[in-house]
Amino acid sequence: MALNYGNDMEHDESLAKRYREAANESPPARLDAAIRAAARRDAGAGPRPLSRIRAWRVPVSLAAVLVLSATLVLMMREEGADRLETAVEPAPPRAVAPERPAEPQARTAEAQAPASPSPAPQSRAQLPATDIAPPAPQAAPQIEQKVLAGNAVPPESPPEPRREVAAMSEMARPMMSAAPAAADAAAGRMSRSAPAAAAVAPAAPHLWQDLIDQPADKWIQRILEWQRAGRSADAEALVREFVRRFPQQPLPPEIRQP
């Protein structure tokens, strides 16, 4: 009998056929019986609890992950909102700086609701004139510089409250650095406090940077200049700030109120 060897390097059908003919040993029957009996005994115990656990392992794990994630998110939101409210609420009557941590929130609120009308007069009516904050982020370092420079610029208002403002802004700085993150995290919860914050915050402080230490008539003069020059939006912003800063000062009739 001639064998036909295949060319496959990893399989040879003729060798396989010859091997199948040659290899016909099998285990003794007593071994078969012993092994089958052992298998039946083991299976007789029924499905092991491990199988049930395995069947529920994945769904239970997924459910646990979902519940934990949802709880964590809710907790983070709650904590973020608490922090936010803590940063906004404790404004002592005479303190100016504590308003500043709320400023990033106010900015966010402005960004979220740009069309909301500014309730500045209402806010102004609630705050005494001496308690109104100067334009915070830009003004505070300027004031500090002035104080450190030995009052190089002649002060038109008493320097003592300004020193107090500078000190308070120093104290408030760490809070300010923490507040934006909390504000961003809890932006959704901020909407209720946003109008008040927007009312306090200056719209465009750079517009009246050079007027901060100037008397009311300088402000009126600048407003009139801008109205004549057609810078209506800037003039309106300046009017708002003027009203906020000088609530007792009547506006001349030629100034268009926003």
Partner: protein, 189 residues
């Protein structure tokens, strides 16, 4: 030979895991001969092969609760058998070294085909005996690769998986085994 009946092995094992003893019987019927011959070819001692055979199936029974389908069942089963063989060889080698006794492991002659198959001619029986003799002379790893292919129906990748070597190593072993067997069977052409 299990090649044609491998489909469903995994389902049977899962059914057995869940308590179906009948599923084990079917699995056992499919693979009992292959596993036994694999062990017999590798250890070349019938009594030892029986002992190892029983161990392999008992290990499978013990592992049923943790069984999960991660590979073909035959690969899984022959991996158990291979590991059991390796354990045996390691112990035997240690014993031989300690006793300095080369005859510690009796080696049977390759089992010649029985005369229970009347359709097989005398010439065919002689060829079969020649093949088994050649197989017995192969290095252990090459013989194992060939027998796993024939008895377990394993592919090169599955042989590599069962024996814990790379695919290239398994392929090389199988090729050497086939080349030597072909060469040895040239006289029957």
């Amino acid at each position: 030979m299990p090649q044609e009946a491998d489909a469903g092995d995994e389902s049977l094992m899962l059914a057995y895991r869940d308590g179906d003893a009948g599923a084990f019987d079917r699995l056992y019927e499919r693979h009992r001969g292959g596993v036994y011959r694999y062990l017999l070819r590798q250890c070349r001692n019938a009594a030892l092969a029986e002992e190892l055979f029983q161990d392999v199936w008992m290990n499978l029974i013990r592992a049923r609760a943790s069984y999960e389908v991660q590979a073909k069942f035959s690969t899984y089963l022959y991996r158990i058998a291979h590991n059991r063989l390796m354990d045996h060889f390691r112990r035997r080698d240690a014993l031989v070294l300690s006793l300095d006794d080369e005859a510690a492991a009796p080696v049977d002659e390759p089992v010649a085909p029985s005369g229970a198959q009347p359709e097989i001619t005398i010439e065919a029986r002689a060829q079969a005996a020649q093949l088994l003799a050649l197989l017995g002379k192969l290095p252990e790893e090459q013989r194992e690769a060939f027998v796993l292919q024939q008895e377990g129906g394993l592919s090169v990748e599955e042989i590599a998986d069962a024996t814990g070597v790379s695919r290239e190593t398994a392929k090389s072993r199988l090729r050497y085994a086939l080349a030597k067997l072909r060469e040895g069977m040239q006289s029957w052409r």
